[in-house]
């Protein structure tokens, strides 16, 4: 069984890579390259998978999942400028694809600390940047 919990954070970013010239950056990233950045209300879905635990009737202890996501993702991402406020994006363009990889890495780094057994596992994360753009990743 899979259980999905939805979280939200608001953050700004600018898509710009030092690997390219100013003109190339503008060509590649378009308005996402505007010099002072811009922001989104991101929607993050975290899906855990596992058997229903007899007794509790739960696949995952939701307050523990909430704390994991809050302490490792939302606390650092919410109401931040990703390019300057997060160490990971000092040398990495904060595209949604890269944001997903960073979130995956942060969740997996602490997952077994809070869920020490075989289950639940992190099954998928989905990130919605806008209503028209969403991304999904399965570890």
């Amino acid at each position: 069984m899979r259980i999905t919990r939805r979280y939200r954070f608001a953050a700004s970013h600018r898509l710009h890579s030092d690997a390219f010239s100013e003109a190339e950056n503008r060509e590649l990233y378009g308005k996402c390259n505007n010099p002072y950045g811009h922001g989104h209300d991101y929607v993050l879905d975290v899906t855990a998978e596992g058997p229903i635990q007899r007794g509790s009737g739960q696949v995952v202890h939701i307050p523990t999942l909430d704390r994991l996501v809050s302490e490792n993702v939302l606390r650092d991402f919410d109401h931040r400028y990703l390019n300057s406020d997060l160490a990971e994006f000092q040398a990495l363009v904060p595209t949604s694809e890269n944001i997903m990889r960073v979130i995956e890495s942060r969740l997996l780094a602490h997952w077994r600390d809070v869920f020490p057994g075989e289950w639940p596992r992190l099954e998928a994360i989905r990130l919605r940047e806008t209503k028209r753009n969403s991304f999904e990743l399965k570890p």
Partner: protein
């Protein structure tokens, strides 16, 4: 091909195990353990898988699917207190997970040998929390 039918029901429940102390239940279930219960507008999505019938052009008759969901799930659960009025939730905790698995058990026999088979039950407890059950992990 997958086809999905959506239905809604409103029900109350309390998540607590009689063998645990109020404090332990509170730690496990949070405010869902409050003893008098609380309610949700559940949203159910039932997905069938099959090939369209060459004559009717349908994977399954959606009218019939609507009736089956109504009879097996909505009629017994809508506007009910699950713990008191809907077995087996007198014996097991009506978490979203257990309610989704029970809905699967109630629906699945109706699709044996009918061309379409039950592919997935998705149950939203709120917009921010849902479970998917495909008859896997018992």
């Amino acid at each position: 091909m997958l086809i999905t039918r959506r239905a809604e029901f409103s029900a109350s429940h309390v998540c607590a195990q009689p063998a645990l102390t109020p404090q332990q239940n509170r730690e496990l279930y949070g405010p869902a353990a409050n003893p008098s219960g609380h309610g949700h507008n559940y949203v159910l999505e039932v997905t069938l898988q099959g090939d369209p019938d060459p004559v009717t052009g349908m994977v399954f008759d959606l009218k019939r699917l609507k009736e089956l969901i109504q009879q097996a799930v909505i009629d017994p659960m809508d506007h009910r207190f699950l713990n008191y009025e809907v077995p087996p939730f007198d014996k097991i905790v009506p978490t979203t997970e257990n309610v989704a698995a029970e809905i699967w058990r109630r629906l699945e026999p109706h699709f044996a040998d009918k061309g379409a088979r039950l592919n997935n039950v998705r149950l939203y407890e709120t917009e921010d929390l849902y479970v998917d059950y495909a008859g896997d992990h018992p």
